[in-house]
Amino acid sequence: MPLRRWWDRAQPVTGAPHVRGLGVGTEDWLQVARDVAAAGGVLHALWMSCAAMGDHAVQERIVYGAYLTDTGVLIVELTLPAAATQTYPGLEGIFPAAARMQRAAHDLSGIRSSDPDARPWLNHDRPYEFVRVDGEGVHEIAVGPVHAGTIEPGHFRFSVVGEKVLKLEERLGYTHKGLEQRFTALPILQGHRLAARVSGDSAVAYSWAYCQALEGMSGRAIPPRAAWLRAVCLELERLANHLGDLGALGNDVGFAFGLTQFSRLKEDLLRAMAAVFGERYLFDIIVPGGVAIDVSAAAAGALADVVRAVCTETEELRDIYDEHEGVRDRFTGAGRLEPERAARLGVIGLVGRASGQARDVRVDLPDAPYTELPVAMVVEHDGDVASRVAVRFGEVRESGRLLTSLLSALPDGMHAVEVGVPADGAFGVGLIEGWRGPVLVALQAGPSGSIRRCHPHDPSWQNWPALEYAIMGNIVPDFPLINKSFNLSYSGVDL
């Protein structure tokens, strides 16, 4: 059955535009996945109704899948019978990214998919076997969870011959902190604060996605001024993260000048953001109903001046990067993820766009203000470090352009409105294109203003497994560079 037929049968879901939900039985669960794949869609998220390990309070056990398709987001619900031994059909054969999501869901719910790889993911109490590579001269290098730089914890197991990497296996889950369980202890009107801390570098994207879901469930549209200010925040977040990455990538190829200059520009931007919003990383600026702080015309003008200056200097630095033979040599061809492989793995976001996967929620499924302010998507096709650098440079330029437009024409009116408590059982989905890629929040209300279930989903779920392919055949000393060019979130997937 073509995807269109499932889509037509599905019911509208509140929150982000173009989201529909469909309840299916076990027999259709796989068929929908196959039809989504045939239509060129990708699995974005998979989660279960249980929020925490040993959470037996939840009687009803539902597996959720969220697909990004050309027509919109399709949420598929599979309700399982109460029998404890029940398994459900795994999607890993159709969407490889499903494997880790299913293992994580099993650790939380005790319900297994049909995938024969039954190793734990979030639960580190159980023994774990890495895949061994045999052969003459093969040895293993184990790295982490505590790393050599100021980064998040995770374990990498390299199987190498000499300097050449034959295989990388990632072991994550070290920062698992029971975040989804914590959501259920918060009032639904306060959940945006925790959402902002799913992955701190994407605070705006997550808190906006959370609020988008909540506002949809409450039936409260935000005023245009609030939407525009949210977009200002989102593009500032994108700009700040890209500047940081561009500097770190220069540093990883021995060009310390790049780190010095880009970290200076990032600091200039963060200070300008703090001057306007009182927050360097815009934590808790996106609130239910709008934004916490209004921006005066003078402040908007001052912020636009800094953005322009930062973007102008970035263009100068881009020339320097492009003309530097050493930098070009290390970037080009390193950590290549071919477009065909990226498509097969369902890679999304920035990393996907550097491998020819032209998806961007701001373009494909836009919500205000992007409906009125078209975004030029930046796509590259070589899939190497140089392409991921080029996408970042391109997006700095585009975010700079968007910010100039947004800040020069903020609509009049209120910057926030009151949002009421949604009805018990109400369900909503938020979807926002963060700097790393699409961030999804699925939210379900409980009785009297509580949260029954909240699942935040990071694009890093899809892209971590792709890193294992991108490193193959490269040398160990290039791993930090290739890893940084992906710059994936640990906290965002460990939850």
């Binding site: 914890p153 029971g178 975040l179 801390r197 701190g200 010095t260 990032k266 100068e316």
Partner: protein, 167 residues
Amino acid sequence: MLKTLRKIASIGLISEPAPAPDELLRVRRAADATIAAVLGRALCIRHVDAGSCNGCELEIQALGNPYYNLEGHNIRFVASPRHADLLLVTGPVVKNMELALQRTYAATPDPKRVVAVGDCGCTGGILGECPASLGRVANVIPVDVAVPGCPPSPVRILQAILTAIQA
């Protein structure tokens, strides 16, 4: 090359002076008051993320930018706890990182100091304590200085570090 040199020359020196230590951030005074005598003003830091959201990491990274110029203050981050004098710990300590944090602490030679960074490191923060998380850093290893904030600014983190190495 000419463009690079011109850029360096046109920006000039932009580093700001170090802030004063802040005794209000001190949690406990270590029994060995020798650290200042042993280290002078040269300090090596090992950062450990024990389960943070990565917000505090952004501000710790910012300490290296030319405005805060950490290395200009004789402070640097090192790749191994065995080279470190001070551990900078972020996040609530989650169960899956408890052992790694304890081992990192044990591998750090004496005299050593621990600075807990951020609301989560100080109190458990918005994440609190739950079956997956043990809460504040002091629940797992001894903490000398704790700097609140979500995340604390680079200046506050630098103040905390300077407080920790003051006798």
